[in-house]
Point group: C2
């Protein structure tokens, strides 16, 4: 059988929210890009297929990062003593302005992609900057690496520094050029409409972007209700809209095509109802929400209401690309939210958060983030032999120990859409 | 000049709470165990002294971990979906019981010490278990490694599983044996009186321990007001005492000798006043407090009141030995506390938390945690060349980037009390 191979190891994934499926010393049969089956005992018909035997290693789905700003990578770990609005002015906007220089972009973007690879992120939804050329470059670099990404040229035509602002016309024109050129250029790297957030986009720009989203059938990503000052500012800017979400909605940017909204900390009941009705994906970014003093998003309530949720690193408001770090931080803030909500919003288990970091975010990419039949084979091979283990642990416990105490050194191999991915080149 | 050497590099430390002292390409003159001076330009009289030139590396004081359970290291990263009391019963007590076996103790304790070294912790205040022999072994292993520690044989004579409980007589006898044998055995490793917490120690035991503390002039460490159920239980056990702290106080275990209390999340105003009056050191363990859903300690209020505070990893309720991880988590929860307190309790800056992780906790060890004259020379040499740096950064920014995005791979050398420490042996 051509194009078929088998991966053997201790397989663990979450088909269902909050429940691990475990195949100790099991087999994943991969045909082309996709999983053909997962087995405890290999069926007779697959006996002659090539087996890649990872021995006692753990095999998990690749991590999906549903929200990050590629152009902020140079600022990682810096300036995390501000709230959102001053942080944007003082640290973030000056850094993003550098991406007018394609050489700077190549250096930082390639380093970012190498590090996403390093930390086991196989799929990502990415904000670039307003700059057309470096955004195209970022897409080319992702494609070259083998990683999968939605990449957005950022749109900003108001309330932005003069060194980082576009005219409405240019913003729309450049966006459309990218859509025309990149919508079908790559299989694993796609454009996504990316208005920065309401404060930096006029209603005219938003409506134009809504039209482009429909015309080219491309998804949308933006920010929603992250910070008190931001929400207040949006209310001032749009007294005609009943809330923040409805600004996007009235521009056709809220779920008419698949849509990710990052943060959603301060959404009101009407907004939650709208998010549910329009099937908005929420990118939960706890590190960012802690670092910028934004608060704790009511993620348990979103999930109970059936709203899809994935996890995001949100660098560089988040300080770590590691999705295991994001899982741990998600667990921690969910524990604090449980206290804050007088024990109403139940804390998340490791299995629930693992689901959000794989299949939860993966849904935005299609059949991604699980080892069920027909899912694209995105996988990480975890060698935990260096971790502090002094007794026999179950596969679930070994995964938990990796998540809480391991790092990139424990990730031995990465697969995306059926292909083994080697270390991307840094320029 | 004999016994003198000079360390050269980018020196940064916090003499004052919240303020970095920086000596770019500076010199630290070390004589014997202690810092003799820090200079931007080396004075003439030191021109013939041997210089260890660390080039562009950053040199910082070693980290002080003011609270950790060595005997829980095997459980690191496991079972973090419980509150304190069930977590103790299901995960922690069964693990601690294994330390009756000296061979198991040697294996795990030596791995722990190697990893403390790896993460740049140069001083630690450590809980062992109730077992006398493995506690002595832990002290011997610390001494062999060159790391500095206070190590406590844990006392528990009630409300504990039958496989992990002592009689009052044995508990006191074994504790005194250790004090006699170890009080003067090592210079950098000392015993510390360690009643686990009020629920597991009768008043008779506590009073005996208070007497031993005075008799041998040794310090005390324990837990205080970590969790609601625990505080309620203490109130039931001691209706005669007006609060949790006063139980320790009435036994002579609350600041009559130098005393560390871990957590202090739920202390009341009377307890805060008593802590201030008795100069209690608070070990702030944010990872643990998040992982076990305990809450956020009001650390800003303690510091404003002048109560000494250090940081603790509190493994394995905390999941990481890395004190940089603890600094980041401390910043994050302080931001959330700022929101929770209606913006009264100001968030902590990196310089403030760096102080707590070095000089703040270091004070418990004497003149430790700074590069001021007369301080013991505990230092880490940080090579940040592997981090995502794409422009010229200040030394403060480089330190912040190391704290937020670096790890043990960036620590190139470690010094404790004037001596370079090599990787400890794992048994």
């Amino acid at each position: 059988m051509e194009g078929i191979y088998i991966v053997k190891g201790n397989i663990i994934f979450t088909k269902t929210f909050g429940k691990f499926e475990v195949f100790e010393n099991g087999y994943i049969v991969v045909e082309g890009k996709c999983v053909k089956g997962v087995y405890k005992n290999l069926p007779e018909k697959f006996r002659n297929i090539r087996v890649i035997d990872y021995g006692d290693a753990i095999i998990i789905p690749g991590f999906v990062d549903l929200h990050l700003h590629a152009s902020q990578y140079g600022n990682l770990g810096l300036g995390l003593d501000k709230e959102l609005m001053p942080w944007l002015q003082e640290y973030t906007f000056p850094e993003e302005a550098k991406y007018a220089d394609i050489n700077y972009a190549k250096k930082v973007y390639s380093a970012l992609i190498r590090d996403l690879w390093r930390f086991g992120t196989t799929r990502a939804c990415v904000f670039a900057t307003i700059h057309k050329d470096s955004t195209k470059l970022l897409m080319d670099l992702f494609a070259e690496s083998g990683l999968s990404a939605y990449v957005g040229k950022v749109n900003m035509n108001r309330n932005s520094p003069e060194y980082l602002v576009e005219s409405t016309e240019n913003s729309v024109y450049d966006t459309e050029e990218i859509l025309q050129e990149y919508s079908t250029k790559y299989e694993l790297v796609k454009p996504i409409i990316t208005p920065r957030f309401v404060p930096s986009c006029s209603m005219k720009l938003l409506k134009n972007l809504g039209n482009l989203a429909k015309k080219y059938s491309v998804p949308v990503q933006s920010h929603l209700c992250e910070n008190n000052d931001e929400v207040r500012f949006v209310k001032e800017l749009h007294p005609e809209c009943k809330n923040y979400a409805s600004v996007y909605d009235s521009a056709g940017l809220f779920g008419d095509v698949p849509t990710i909204m990052a943060h959603c900390i301060l959404v009101d009941e009407d907004e939650i109802e709208l998010m549910k009705r329009k099937n908005i994906f929420i990118a939960h970014n706890p590190n960012s929400n802690c670092n910028l003093s934004s608060g704790i998003a009511p993620i348990r309530r979103f999930i109970t209401r059936g709203i899809p949720v994935g996890l995001g690193s949100d660098i560089s408001a988040g300080h770590s690309l590691s999705m295991t770090n994001v899982i741990v931080n998600s667990a921690q803030v969910s524990n604090l939210k449980w206290l804050e909500s007088s024990k109403v919003d139940k804390p998340f288990s490791t299995a629930e958060l693992f689901y959000l970091a794989t299949k939860g975010g993966g849904k935005f990419f299609g059949k991604v983030g699980s080892f069920e039949n027909g899912y694209e084979f995105d996988a990480l091979v975890i060698d935990d032999s260096s971790l502090a283990i002094f007794r026999q642990l179950s596969i679930e416990e070994r995964l938990q120990k990796f998540i809480y105490t391991g790092d990139d050194r424990n990730i031995k191999d990465r697969y995306i859409s059926g292909k083994k991915i080697k270390e991307p080149k840094c320029y």
